[in-house]
Subunit: 337 residues, 2 copies
Amino acid sequence: MLSQSQFVSLNRINSLPLSSSISVRKIFSDSLDFPHLGINSFPRIKLSSPKMSLNCVVSNEAEIDDLGVEDSELDEFAAVANKLADAAGDVIRKYFRKSFDILDKEDLSPVTIADQLAEESMVKIIQENFPSHAIYGEERGWRCKEETADYVWVLDPIDGTKSFITGKPVFGTLIALLYKGKPILGIIDQPVLRERWTGLSGRRTTLNGQEISTRSCSSLSKAYLYTTSPHLFEGDAEIAFARVRSKVKVPLYGCDCYAYALLASGFVDLVIESGLKPYDFLSLVPVIEGAGGTITDWTGQQFNWKASAGSPATSFNVVAAGDKQVHQQALDALQWQ
Amino acid sequence: MLSQSQFVSLNRINSLPLSSSISVRKIFSDSLDFPHLGINSFPRIKLSSPKMSLNCVVSNEAEIDDLGVEDSELDEFAAVANKLADAAGDVIRKYFRKSFDILDKEDLSPVTIADQLAEESMVKIIQENFPSHAIYGEERGWRCKEETADYVWVLDPIDGTKSFITGKPVFGTLIALLYKGKPILGIIDQPVLRERWTGLSGRRTTLNGQEISTRSCSSLSKAYLYTTSPHLFEGDAEIAFARVRSKVKVPLYGCDCYAYALLASGFVDLVIESGLKPYDFLSLVPVIEGAGGTITDWTGQQFNWKASAGSPATSFNVVAAGDKQVHQQALDALQWQ
């Protein structure tokens, strides 16, 4: 064993706020094993997430009532959202690590038959269940009978297509439901590992039906940071990111949307990205806020994107943190105007 | 669906050499699903890898006989190596996504109780089965009654400790057996996903018992490249890496040893890293060569590291490719002296 003198410092991770400690330790008291995870251990999907406990302060508390969405409606949306993720997952698993064509879009990002079929499978279910809802999908944009709608499903069938193409199982299916422009439901689904993070306004986020929580982190210097690639930052954004990166404990790469899921679960402290499209981040909002975390743009503002027939897929800079202190320190370092 | 006019170019991946096409397509004809993978579908572990077919040219062909290691001995080593990976996996799964201390070593790299216990579990099995063999482990260095030994087990219990710490399942246990300085056995084991790549001199590499192969790639401009982090390159190495990175189709990050495993399986074309220790790359050699790939230092030379009681853990620059053409083009771009 290493002697004490060989250690420079000692860190205890997973120092959770007291209010969440019991439920999270219970979640993880059994050995986590993916083959069992998908088959035996956690309940596969629950039709509604448990209401948050009185000790847990969640940043989206009470908003769902203010919006005028009934609990029963939210349960119904959650049930259908799970069907969307199931359907997309069935498609994606068929193509993962198979031979298929990779097509380069006009912006040179890759797309595959799996992206296209997964999106179509979700669109079909939405149209069957909620014909008046609008859909904004990465592959085909806006679909609705009207120019605008109160409810908009925003879909990214495979976030992290390059990971998918190279056989690395950290990509995800992203599903968001907006009500009057606000994300009230978000799913991050990893269909190969069979992990599903579900965030619903006013409720605690769950991973495969079990409540989860972000972790405390008092300082950037202790933070584990993820971003997908250093090449996603350009110009001033690259300089701003470098200011944060130089202050964190460990900068890590290559995790796509899975990094935000790990943050919601309390294993990562900070995720910072640039150039994300609405279908890349809207689903993350309920997931992270429902786990006690914070996600905003680089000026600290909530995201403001109006989905409609004419909406361009604007790019956003995103900063997500498990702890408000780290979130603020990241904003201070980014110095973004 | 996207119209033809929206596509800039069309690429077909997984264009495999004819000799390997049948066996690889058969491997992947069933839906790949990790929960099933670990439990039902592929044979979990075979005590020896199948001999290579006459159509498959593997770069380590016939070397095992030249070295004077019998087939039956190699089978015995493989059987024990599997036990090592099983034992390390049992430890690692207990700690994955659990609360534990992270200790910073003198070089500021993190180590955990899982690293330490996993290494000890493997050492114990080696000492029981092969008391005359030497061991060189990442955590505790050289262990042997003598100053040198013909057989040396080189172990990295968790390659990608930062991925492990942050709950991202792409780290791996690396096990190599050297005979007179040459790696004759290599294992890359991902214990959470239950995937095990096994390379044995003179034999085709297997993934969970099934033969695999790297894929063809005629040009750097078509290559998918992985490296763990942009921060692993310093000075001239950073400049050299940038020369290659600017030429590939897609540079990707954050995959640890798993990237080499994906390369051996034919999903990735090129992996380039700097500052790897012997316990990080020796196990990769039989895995990649046995799948038809090439792995050398940046000057194109085979690795030369003498394991002994006094051996420092020298750093090496590594380039691995599935196709010899891409390997050569990478060397040409690196221009490393």
